[in-house]
Amino acid sequence: MTRILLTGNAAAAWGARLAAVDYVPAFPITPQTEIIETLAEWIDGGVMDSRLVTLESEHSMLTAAGAAAVTGVRVFTATSSQGLLYGMEMLYNLAGWRAPLVLVNVSRGLSAPITLEPDHNDVLAARDSGFLQIHCATCQEVLDNVLLAYRLAEDSRVRLPVIVNLDGFYLSFTREPVEIPDPVAVADFLPPFADLGQHFRGGQPSSQAVAVLGGGPYSYFRYQVHLAAEQAAAVYADLGRQFERHFGRLYQAVEAYRCDDAELVLVMIGSFATKAKVAVDRLREAGQKVGLVRPLLLRPFPVAELRRLLGQRKGVAVIDQNLSPGRGGILHAELAEALYGLAKGGPLLASFVGGLGGRDIAEEEFLQIVEVLSQAVQRGSAPPPRLLFTADELQQVRRLQDIAHGSREGDDAS
């Protein structure tokens, strides 16, 4: 067991290495490229026995990944943002093929305008595909959850592809101490790929992805994906406990931080949630009863857990790093639905949208979110949805607009 400094990208690569994957179809895209570069180096240097192939697009990459998985080998692949969307058609296909592979997505905001920095609209666009989704908050979680994702994907009760998500920049390029599990212990936790009859063999042909017409058969097969995805909640809970026995770190579908007696709770996913912890600590020191709830699993959506953890609170503020135009924050909408119909009406829900395109969320803003929530609880009515956006930022946009439309010269732009 070694503990070293690793970026989120390197942690993802370590996950694939320890999982002893057989095949890595690849296509580069910022901020993911470092993952496949690392794997390519290891394979080239002979420390990893695997085949890496660069394809001509993410669509082909995912097709190759799915095809390989259903021929009976362990497959790893990675992408980000536009790449994930370019391969979107195949995400639905791979789920339908019941191809048990792991795809790491390094979150990055979507065009247009183009950006390199993170938010969650890319991975949430894959929400309804049938891929399961695990959202990580630290580099350690990235490595560990790649291993967990293989167990989950390959479990006979599930047999679905899994996305492990990490935030670009804030995790992908950020080094943190990461414990690299002992390969022998990993081999014990994650046995070799079992094809469970999903394989191609000479003289034993099978057809994947056949056509069904009339709706009835289609409904059956699509609903099978749903049932398997739902089943994955219990399987993840079980695997999390097994993982803890092997490696001493417990993973659950939802993390609850300082929630025991919390009256007000923040809800968010991904790496910014650790920033929320800093704010929670600060508010706790000041005597406020505040906590944080962070779903790791987004598909399946841990409804029962969230109802249990949030149902009795006075107020819940959801911070969405995504935006569904014409609706608002996606997590907020999902949570509102999950908490609907509770006996005592459930907590007051407030919606905040922030961190779009890598925009930071300052500690002061977390404190202010709690303040707004606390006032709303006292008033007894939810505040209007709030975009985290300041007067200074608008001024900055105005400067850009003036240059773009020719009404002003730039400063020393560099």
Binding site: P31, P177, K275, L283, A362, E363, E365, E371, A404, G406
Partner: protein
């Protein structure tokens, strides 16, 4: 927690410097987080990286706005407003500048509340054999923290430069150590005083309501022509190409190859470089068939005549 920001220009090894410091602090028993800030991955463009180190797991993330130590590997950045080098400096923030000017000079010029130290890293780096400025400065930065041993620092250098070959490691070790030793009397200058916001002291963030605005304003569209003229890429230049008219055959190759399109021909057909935009990539000098393009250090030229720098 230690919060450290490292500034420099693309090519000065700032990411490597942050990793050396991160690894050294990790070796010294700290929990560490380090990251470069990508975006301007262009030679000579201002870039920065940051390092956090604490006794317990670090939950803070993102750019450091209230640093305990700011390291500046290139003193020309202090004149560049957009490089934002001095952001968030307080009375307890230590500033380390790589410069051949004195600390007193910078104190008076910048009027800063906190302690300022200067390292003449150029000389050290050159003696050790072209060690990048970032790597030299990090030796001094490590000493200023007062919690990084020589051994931890040397191990970190060896680890982080392992891919660069034994000669590079040795040169960097020498340079880093020299800077480290030179700062022995300043050991522990950096204090872990900077605290993040507290619930009572925090100013509210100043959120505003956005209105639905009309096009073209509301879409990311550029209607004005040639706005790229406003990006003074000349500010990225650390080395400057100069045309030697005695040798130049006026073939025009450099003009066609320049990626910035900043070479023009004068009435006599000689190439003229527009230094407002020349980014110093030196493609022209590498390709000139007559070797008629000389390369000078920008710093040396600018002390003679400040043209081409920021006005």
């Amino acid at each position: 927690m230690y919060r450290i920001r490292l500034h420099g220009r693309g090519g000065q090894g700032i990411k490597t410097a942050s990793r050396i410091l991160g690894t050294a602090l990790f070796r010294a028993g700290f929990e560490v987080q380090d990251a470069p800030r990508y975006g301007a991955e262009r030679r000579g463009a201002p870039i920065f990286a940051y390092v956090r180190a604490d006794d317990k797991a670090i939950c803070e993330r993102g750019v450091i706005h209230r640093p305990d130590l700011v390291m500046v590997a290139d003193d020309t950045l202090l004149d560049l407003t957009s490089a934002n080098v001095l952001e968030g400096l307080s009375g307890s923030t230590a500033l380390l500048i790589n410069s051949n000017r004195s600390a007193l000079h910078w104190c008076q010029r910048l009027q800063l509340p906190g302690p300022v130290t200067v390292l003449d890293g150029g000389a050290i780096g050159a003696r050790a054999g072209r060690v990048p400025a970032g790597a030299v400065c990090v030796g001094a930065a490590a000493r200023l923290l007062g919690v990084v041993s020589r051994q931890a620092l040397l191990t970190a250098v060896a680890e982080e430069l392992a891919g660069h070959g034994a000669a590079a490691v040795e040169a960097s070790r020498q340079a880093v150590l020299q800077a480290y030793d030179q700062f022995s009397s300043e050991a522990g200058l950096v204090q872990r005083l900077q605290v993040a916001a507290t619930p009572t002291a925090a100013a509210p963030p100043g959120w505003i309501e956005l209105a639905n605005e009309a096009l073209p304003q509301a879409a990311a569209t550029i209607t004005a022509p040639a706005t790229s003229r406003q990006v003074a890429t000349g500010l990225w230049r650390t080395r400057r190409p100069q045309i030697d008219r005695q040798r130049c055959s006026r073939c025009g190759l450099c003009l066609n190859l320049c990626p910035e399109g900043c070479i023009d021909l004068d009435e006599d057909g000689f190439p003229v470089i527009d230094y407002r935009y020349c980014k110093g990539c030196l493609l022209c000098a590498a390709q000139c068939p007559r070797k008629a393009i000389r390369i000078c250090e920008e710093r040396a030229v600018q002390t003679e005549k400040p043209e081409g720098g920021e006005s």
